[in-house]
């Protein structure tokens, strides 16, 4: 099963403060372990929300609001995508993660839907597989 492991933002990440050298080394070592164990599928870091935007949908209207956004601890600073055998395994890996920031932070884990969980319609599953194939091609370009 796959899990999205969400690193929540902090005051420091929202200020665009880079991690210090020790944390960077610890995080690189942790990432290497994840890769070696076959757990790591993807990982990305995001720019602070001050550079971001939100589009609010209400009925047929769409309103664009520019960042920064107030509720720092609910914002995302980055994420991993992991392949593990259970929710417990994902939590065990998170517990081994170096604290991503010098100040208090939070990591959220959420299981990712696999297509067969959503439908057993063979036609839809085939189209879904084609869509994923096409996006992987786009990503390699």
């Amino acid at each position: 099963m796959r899990f999205m492991v969400i690193v929540k933002a902090t005051r420091d990440s929202e200020a665009g403060m880079p991690p210090d050298e020790k944390l960077l080394k610890d995080m690189m070592a942790f990432n290497e372990e994840l890769v070696k164990a076959g757990v790591m599928l993807a990982g990305e870091g995001l720019h602070p929300s001050s550079k971001g935007a939100r589009v609010k949908f209400s009925g047929q209207s769409r309103t664009v609001v520019d960042g920064p956004f107030a509720e720092t601890k609910e914002l995302i600073a980055g994420y991993w995508m992991w392949q593990v055998k259970s929710r417990e395994e994902a939590i065990e890996w998170v517990k081994r993660c170096p604290n991503p920031f010098a100040i208090d932070s939070e990591i959220e884990i959420r299981q990712v839907f696999e297509s067969p969980e959503l439908t057993d319609n063979a036609d839809i599953l085939r189209k879904e597989a084609e869509l994923r194939q096409k996006s992987e091609q786009n990503a390699r370009r």
Partner: protein, 135 residues
């Protein structure tokens, strides 16, 4: 530039809700258009937050809390990863996204740090190491 397009929970994502057929068909068409335009790099939907967990450091240890969590509005329901030329282009694509029939929803557009930007952000740390290695 790559953008993470975060689809917020529309209030019903803490528990599984069957989206209606028309919305699913429109969303499939939208995804096909994104893929054909070379914009779509990845997409995932998440299980309801009620089944998730949050882990935070407390007194030098990691403390685990199981879902569900209170602030539904800020929960993530899923995301796309897009390759576009500007944030404006990303926002234009978001505006074309089909809207679910029920409730209000919000989509957040956040630029992804690319390897070069990440290196530049870390440049002071890296250059110190490189200088030491070279010395």
């Amino acid at each position: 530039m790559r953008f993470m397009i975060i689809v917020k929970s529309s209030g019903n994502c803490q528990t599984a809700a069957e989206p209606d057929g028309k919305f699913v068909a429109e969303m499939r068409k939208f995804n096909d258009e994104l893929a054909a335009a070379g914009v779509l790099l990845a997409l995932e939907g998440l299980h309801p937050g009620a089944q998730g967990a949050r882990i935070r450091p407390a007194a030098g240890k990691w403390k685990v809390s199981d879902g569900p969590f209170a602030e539904t509005k800020e929960m993530i329901g899923g995301y796309w990863l897009w390759q576009v030329n500007s944030q404006d282009e990303a926002i234009e694509w978001v505006k074309r996204c089909p809207i679910p029939a029920h409730g209000e929803t919000e989509i957040e557009v956040r630029e992804v740090l690319d390897a070069e930007q990440f290196a530049a952000q870390l440049a002071p740390a890296f250059s110190r190491r490189t200088q030491r290695a070279a010395a």
